[in-house]
C-alpha cells in the first residue's frame, strides 16, 4: 500500500518536474529575445536588449520620445515611423493611427515590442531631449491657485532650451495613483541660467499632477523632468511683438522676456495679461522691472470681473476686447499666445479680424 502511494506521488512529481524544466527551457529560448539591433534614421545603430516596448527601450538609450500616459497607449503622443521589423499594428494601436499614417508605417512606440531588428525614424529635434533628475529648491505661491516651482538640475546638471519650450514633469505614484504620469509645463525661467528651471503650475480640481504639486511636493523633494519640447519660441525677425497670455500662460512669455533682456533685443513688445480679479494678478513687480529694462516693452493687465473690494484703475473687460481696443496696429507684427484653449481661439479671431495673417500668430499647443 505504501509503496503504491509513494510510486504514484513520485511519478506525479517526476512528470511535473520534467514539464517545468521544459517550460523553463522554452522561456529561456523562445521568449528570450536576446540582443536586437535598431537602426535610427538609416545612420545611427544601437544594440539593445529585446523583449520590451520600443518607448521604454529608447528611454534606456537616453532617447526620449514624448509621452503623457507613460506607455499605457492612451495619449497617442509617442508616434514613430517604423519602416521594418515591427509586424502588423496591434489592436491597441489602430484607433490612434489614421489610414495615411498606417500607410506611412507610423506606429505607437509604446505598444511595439522590440523583437526583430528594427529600422526606425526619429525627428532630429528629439535628440536634444534628455531626462533630468532634479531637486525642488523653492515652491512659492504666485496666487491662491498658482504655484511657482523651481528645480535645480542634478543629473545632467545643465539644460539648453529655447525660451518658450516646455518640459514633461513626471508625477510619481502617490496616494491613490499607482503609476507615473507625465504632464507638460512651460519653462518660465531665464534660458541663460542653465542649471535650473522654473514652472508655473495652476491647481486644477481633480488633476493628478496639480494635486501632487499643490498638496504633496515640498522643497528638497526629488523630481524628474524630460525635455525640452515644443516649437513655441520667439522668431528671429524685426517685427513688433504682441504677447497675450493669462494665468499660468505667463510662463513661456516670462522666459522669452528674459531672453530678450539677455540679448539686448530692441523690438517693440506689448504684453496683454488677462485675469479675472485683482487676486489673479501676480509677478507685477517683475513685469515692471522688464518694462524699465527693455527699450520698448509694455505690460498691460486687464481684469474681466474685478471683485467687490478691488481698487482697479487699469483696463477692464475680456482680454480679447482689450486687445481689440488697445492694440494700435497689426502691421509688421507677430503674436504669441499662451493660455486656455478658449482664450487662444478667441484671440486668434480678434487678431485675424484686425488683419493679422494667420502664419504670424504663434500659440503654444502641447499635444
Amino acid at each position: 500500500m505504501l509503496t503504491a502511494f509513494l510510486i504514484s506521488v513520485g511519478v506525479m512529481c517526476a512528470i511535473t518536474t520534467v514539464l517545468a524544466v521544459l517550460m523553463i527551457l522554452a522561456d529561456a529560448t523562445i521568449a528570450n529575445y536576446g540582443d536586437v539591433r535598431i537602426t535610427i534614421n538609416d545612420s545611427k545603430q544601437i544594440t539593445v536588449e529585446g523583449g520590451r516596448h520600443l518607448l521604454a527601450t529608447l528611454k534606456d538609450e537616453q532617447i526620449f520620445i514624448p509621452s503623457a500616459c507613460g506607455g499605457r497607449g492612451s495619449c497617442g503622443l509617442c508616434k514613430l515611423k517604423i519602416l521594418e521589423g515591427a509586424g502588423d499594428p496591434l489592436p491597441t494601436e489602430l484607433p490612434w493611427l489614421a489610414p495615411d499614417e498606417q500607410r506611412r508605417k507610423v506606429r505607437l512606440s509604446c505598444q511595439v515590442k522590440v523583437k526583430n531588428p528594427l529600422r526606425i525614424e526619429i525627428p532630429e529635434e528629439l535628440f536634444n531631449v534628455k531626462q533630468y533628475e532634479a531637486e525642488v529648491t523653492a515652491i512659492r505661491d504666485l496666487t491662491y491657485d498658482i504655484k511657482e516651482v523651481r528645480l535645480k538640475l542634478l543629473s545632467p546638471a545643465a539644460i539648453s532650451f529655447r525660451a518658450g519650450q516646455f518640459v514633461q514633469f513626471e508625477v510619481p505614484p502617490y496616494e491613490l495613483s499607482n503609476e507615473p504620469v507625465y504632464r507638460a509645463y512651460s519653462i518660465s525661467s531665464d534660458p541663460g541660467k542653465e542649471d535650473e528651471i522654473e514652472m508655473e503650475i495652476r491647481y486644477v480640481p481633480n488633476g493628478i499632477c496639480t494635486t501632487y504639486v499643490h498638496r504633496h511636493l515640498k522643497t528638497g523633494d526629488k523630481a524628474v523632468v524630460n525635455g525640452p519640447y515644443g516649437d513655441f519660441y520667439l522668431r528671429d525677425t524685426n517685427r513688433g511683438i504682441v504677447f497675450v497670455a493669462g494665468g499660468s500662460g505667463m510662463a513661456p512669455i516670462k522666459s522669452i522676456l528674459h531672453q530678450m533682456l539677455n540679448e539686448g533685443n530692441r523690438r517693440t513688445a506689448r504684453y496683454f495679461f488677462g485675469a479675472r480679479a485683482v487676486k489673479d494678478l501676480f509677478l507685477l513687480d517683475e513685469m515692471k522691472d522688464f518694462q524699465s529694462k527693455l527699450p520698448d516693452f509694455q505690460f498691460i493687465p486687464a481684469l474681466s470681473e474685478p471683485g467687490p473690494g478691488d481698487d482697479w484703475s487699469g483696463e477692464q473687460g475680456l482680454i480679447t476686447d482689450v486687445v481689440d481696443r488697445c492694440l494700435e496696429t497689426v502691421d509688421n507684427t507677430e503674436a504669441y499666445l499662451c493660455g486656455s484653449p478658449l482664450m487662444i481661439d478667441a484671440c486668434i479671431e480678434v487678431l485675424k479680424n484686425k488683419g493679422m495673417p494667420g502664419e504670424l500668430i504663434y500659440y503654444d499647443k502641447f499635444a
Binding site: 492612451s74 497617442g76 495613483s177 495652476r202 474681466s304 486656455s340 478658449l342
Partner: protein, 167 residues
C-alpha cells in the same frame, strides 16, 4: 452581474489616479455594466436619449463659450460660464482621441439651480451613456440634467417589431 474582460479593463481605467485624481466611479461598488444599465433605464424612463442630453449640454456650452470664463446670458433664462485649461484627457473607454479640459457651469435663473459638467462628461454621456458612478464629484444625475438644462423629451425609438412575413 458578470461583465466582459473589455468592460473590466475600462472599469480599471476609471479608477482614481489613472486618468483623473479621483477617477470616475466615486464610491460606487457596482460593476460598470450595471451602472450603465441602470442609468440607461433611468434615461428611458425620463423620456430622453443619451445623444439628446449630450446635444443639449453641447448647445449650452457653445452658447457660453464667447464669455471665455465670464458668465454669459443665454436665452431664455440661463447663465453659462465656460472655463478651460491647457491639456487633454483620454476617454476611459479606450478608443483614440483626446478631449479638451473644459468646464461648463449652467445656472438656470428660473429655478435658481446650477450644474457643472466637463467636455469629457459630454462625450461619455453622448458616446457611451456613462454619467459617472454614484458618489463621484462629477456624477451627473439624468433627472437633474433634464430639469436644470430643460431638455425636451424625445419620441421613443421605433421597436424592431416582427418582420413583415411573420405578422
Amino acid at each position: 452581474m458578470k461583465q466582459t474582460p473589455e468592460m473590466d479593463a475600462i472599469q480599471r481605467q476609471m479608477r482614481p489616479g489613472v486618468i483623473t485624481r479621483d477617477g470616475f466611479l466615486g464610491s460606487d461598488a457596482r460593476k460598470l455594466a450595471d451602472i450603465l444599465e441602470f442609468d440607461n433605464a433611468e434615461v428611458n424612463r425620463l423620456g430622453l436619449t443619451h445623444e439628446g442630453i449630450a446635444a443639449r449640454m453641447r448647445e449650452l456650452r457653445d452658447a457660453g463659450r464667447k464669455g471665455i470664463g465670464l458668465a454669459t446670458r443665454v436665452d431664455p433664462h440661463f447663465e453659462v460660464r465656460v472655463d478651460s485649461v491647457r491639456g487633454k484627457l483620454p476617454c476611459p473607454f479606450g478608443h483614440a482621441g483626446l478631449v479638451q479640459k473644459m468646464n461648463t457651469t449652467v445656472r438656470n435663473l428660473a429655478g435658481g439651480r446650477e450644474i457643472t459638467y466637463t467636455d469629457l462628461n459630454i462625450h461619455m454621456i453622448g458616446g457611451h451613456g456613462f454619467y459617472e458612478g454614484r458618489g463621484s464629484a462629477f456624477r451627473l444625475e439624468p433627472s437633474e440634467l433634464k430639469e436644470i438644462l430643460e431638455i425636451p423629451e424625445s419620441p421613443p425609438p421605433p421597436s424592431p417589431g416582427m418582420p413583415p412575413g411573420l405578422r
